[in-house]
Amino acid sequence: MNQRHNALRALAAAVALAFVASPALAQEKVKVGFMLPYTGTFAALGNAITNGFKLAIAEQGGKLGGRDIDYVTVDDESDPAKAPENVNKLIKRDNVDVIVGTVHSGVAMAMAKAAKDNNALLLIPNAGQDEITGPLCAPNIIRTSFSNSSPGYAMGKVAADRGYKTVVTLAWKYAAGDQSVGGFKEAFEKGGGKVVKELSLPFPTVEFQPFLTEIASIKPDAVYVFFAGGGAVKLVKDYDAAGLRKTIPLLGPGFLTDGTLEAQGASAEGLLTTLHYADELDNPKNNAFRAAYKKAYNVEPDVYAMQGYDTGQLLAAGTKAVGGDMKKRDALIKAMQTAKIDSPRGPFSLSKANNPVQDIYLRQVVNKQNKAIGIAIKGYADPAVGCKM
């Protein structure tokens, strides 16, 4: 009888202890909100970023700063009209500690504004809208990719160095296209070239024929284009079908041939692009990253996967410094700003405007790979025009 009594008491004590102990033992989880395109033109990009991010987290034992992670996912559909509602869901309804997103520049603008208004932590794994690390810059908005104008700027320098005198540009008429062409024009004309005509068409339409005909009639030394995803596939194929590939070199930022080479096939062989990443960068980190990514997802990683991976690495570095306590916001941001990230693209750190300072490579498509054939600009930091921080 007594023994049974004791057993009961022990059990009760254990239960009570468990109740008391559980909040202390199970620390608060880190809540990560993905707001990325999982459908639409940029769906493949959104998935690659998510995969890359989760690979970086897996390398940390599936934890951030020693704490478990809760993921919340929102499909932004690359639709700027739905962006404010979507980002507010993450901030106000789900109360996430950090938002990761997105690809489309217009959507990212809405996210940056909401992040600024609500003082939410935002990590941008792709969208290169110049303003985000320009006039809109803030300590809590950090980008791990590039600014729209920087690959264009690098290509403008390359084109001028190669002695091209005249260039026609063709791009989707939206912020990313305008800024990419703007960066190209700035460097190219500084180097003595001239952009003789700027052509554009609405996003995401892909009827290029009249523009290709116009290019054939102007016969410039080269053509600079900004397209990504499905549009990039179509443009490269149409450019080849129009017989222009052999006579007028096609130049672009790396998005023209990243994640699209399989679909572009032979039409893309030999194209020159500039980007902060290339497929066969021979550094130990890149080799390890490529092997691990291929093992985990059974596809070759692209620049988007790499940017997702680095976003994960950066957040891991930040959370490590604060032991996963997301309430220590200032220390967390400070740690990310001073971190030197060992990235597959080569080491990078953040500029004053929270944009990566990095090498931009000149790449050529060789056997369906974006092979680096040189460095277009070393340690390039976006000028961050208008950022007061």
Binding site: T39, G40, T41, A43, E77, K197, E198, L199, S200, L201, P202, P204, T205, V206, E207, Q209, P210, F211, L212, T213, E214, A216, S217, K219, G229, G230, V233, K234, D238, A241, A242, G243, L244, T247, A263
Partner: protein, 286 residues
């Protein structure tokens, strides 16, 4: 000079494709008196059928045949269940119903195929390019497209002007009651016209799919420009639709490359100018 000729070719080719879509709209609008906002959705339907059926069957030609049959059936069913109740009602109710159809078609598209952008491969037979001038080659498929559009335009002319069915359609359009009294089944005639309109739009979508890709919202873009065609050409005039389509093809194509900053509004300026000059369009029916 050669290049201008190629640009003209681009313009004509775009114009002819536009005509294919717009002719269906003008037929339904002019002859049956129905404002069909869902017409662009039929174009989208065609493009997505080309995508799904050609990936299932492996052949764009087979997909097109199946697609035309399917779209005729869809047209007949829609006319029977919904549109036949609209003839005697005012335009507002027609707009409400057909706008509802746009939403339904878009949502169905999203549920069945998803929101991704897809490419449709050009059939291998027409996959090549031919050299028209020394600086540029021209994809064969685009030439084939224009040929097909021309053939269909000719076929429509014969159908409407030279056949008994065409005669009944024209008669039914000008006086529905009278034709009915004469013992013609007007309801059946209208059902056929409607199905024909749907099939034309869907066929245009299928033909354009390899060139334009298929993407969400593609129907609305086409719808707006088709209404411009109908307004410029004169409501109900198939001949007017052809002229207006070619005109828009020219203005749009040359506008894009000559005044890139204003390309978006060039077509609408054209419409405004023509309406000032001829408020009823270039070719008024009847």
């Amino acid at each position: 000079m050669d290049i201008v000729a190629i640009q003209l070719l681009n313009a004509v080719q775009y114009g002819l494709l536009l005509f294919l879509v717009a002719s269906g709209l003008t037929l339904i609008f002019g002859i049956m008196g129905i404002i069909n906002l869902a017409h662009g959705s039929f174009y989208m339907l065609g493009a997505y059928m080309a995508f799904t059926l050609s990936s299932l069957t492996g052949s764009l030609a087979v997909a097109m045949v199946l697609g035309v049959v399917l779209s005729v059936v869809i047209g007949l069913v829609l006319e029977w269940t919904l549109f036949s109740h609209l003839y005697k009602r005012d335009h507002l109710e027609q707009v409400l119903l057909t706008y509802g159809l746009i939403l339904i078609f878009e949502e169905l598209r999203s549920l069945i195929v998803g929101n991704d952008v897809h490419g449709v491969p050009v059939p291998a037979l027409f996959g090549g390019s031919i050299a028209l001038v020394d600086t540029m080659t021209y994809p064969v498929y685009r030439l084939v497209m224009s040929g097909v559009c021309l053939a269909i335009a000719a076929g429509m002319y014969v159908l409407i002007q030279r056949t008994r069915l065409g005669m009944t359609i024209r008669a039914g359009a000008s006086n529905r009651e009278m034709v009915g009294v004469l013992g013609v089944n007007v309801n059946l005639v209208f059902r056929i016209v409607f199905a024909l309109g749907v099939a034309l739009a869907a066929f245009a979508g299928m033909l354009a799919a390899p060139v334009s890709s298929v993407y969400p919202g593609m129907g609305q873009q086409v719808l707006i420009i088709c209404f411009v065609v109908v307004v410029i050409g004169g409501i109900g005039s198939v001949w007017g639709a052809l002229v207006a389509s070619l005109l828009i093809g020219l203005v749009d194509t040359f506008g894009k490359v000559l005044v890139p900053e204003y390309a978006g509004v060039a077509v609408y300026l054209l419409m405004a100018a023509i309406l000032l000059w001829r408020p009823e369009g270039l070719f008024r029916r009847g």
